[in-house]
């Protein structure tokens, strides 16, 4: 009687420990997490790049052409690098996605927006800039890539480092 009860308690204890560990995610490997993120629609490779060309390549946009049909609105001088408002509007027909790149940030890609049909080709958000830098808008329209850029000076860097 005692033996089986002890065994049952032990098994129960192990189970509790395993589920606690599982819950904290310690049993999941880094690879599994990356796969999870990719499945959830987040591209780890694109967000790990450290240069404009590298980011464009990671997004399959190599040979993107400069376009005057993309309007990148950003302050010429940003007082606070932690909150820089950026608006990108694309006048290119069949705009599919807009990506915002900050050249001198530790990781270049700040944000990417997928615009289904019916959604206007314009997005407005706020990004952090570590230092004065060129900001690029990479637009995918009709399966081709276009790019526009603007220099934004930052008086107080936004990465907090």
């Amino acid at each position: 009687m005692n033996q089986t009860r002890r065994q049952a308690l032990k098994a129960g204890g192990n189970l509790a420990l395993m589920s606690a560990l599982f819950a904290t995610g310690l049993t999941r490997s880094v690879l599994a997490r990356a796969a999870e993120q990719a499945a959830a629609g987040w591209n780890p490779a694109a967000f790990a790049t450290t240069s404009v060309d590298g980011t464009i390549k990671a997004l399959n946009g190599t040979n993107a052409t400069q376009s005057t049909e993309i309007t990148l609105t950003a302050p010429s001088i940003a007082e606070n690098g932690a909150v820089v408002p950026i608006t990108v509007t694309s006048n290119l027909p069949k705009t599919q996605s807009i990506a915002i790149l900050v050249e001198k940030n530790p990781n270049t890609l700040a944000a990417m927006f997928d615009l289904p049909e019916g959604t206007a080709p314009t997005v407005n958000t706020r990004v952090k800039m570590g230092q004065s830098s060129n900001v690029y808008a990479l637009v995918k329209a009709d399966d081709k890539f276009y790019v526009a850029s603007k220099e934004v000076k930052v008086t107080l860097g936004g990465c907090g480092g």
Binding site: A40, G41, N107, T119, T125, R126, V127, G160
Partner: protein
């Protein structure tokens, strides 16, 4: 996760104009705390907005999006009284969905 998003959606002509203010720390993973330890990254990775069952915007974000992220966009196909849902998922797997009615 924390406080609800503030979503304002209104008709502007035949387009729905949406502005969202989310509540999230958007920690970059670049900062160090007072003892010199790196504060781990904690940021929204994906955002999805839907209206009448159709996705009207999807986004992938990195930690460079500012804290308490602001997002504004416009789409066609919504009407006054329709509901718009916005969902975000962060790098820790937390998520949040909020809804608003188009005015």
């Amino acid at each position: 996760m924390a406080n609800p998003m503030r979503i304002r959606a209104s008709m502007q002509g035949d387009e729905v104009d949406v502005k969202v203010l989310m509540n999230h720390i958007m920690e970059t993973g670049q900062r160090k705390d007072t003892s010199g330890q790196v504060i781990p990254a904690h940021f929204i990775q994906t955002v999805k907005a839907t209206c009448n069952g159709k996705t009207v915007l999807s986004a992938q974000w990195g930690p460079a999006v500012s804290a308490n992220p602001f997002l504004a966009f416009k789409f066609k196909g919504g009407a006054k009284g329709d509901k718009i849902q916005v969902t975000w998922v962060d790098n820790r797997g937390d998520s949040r969905t909020d809804e608003s009615t188009i005015s």
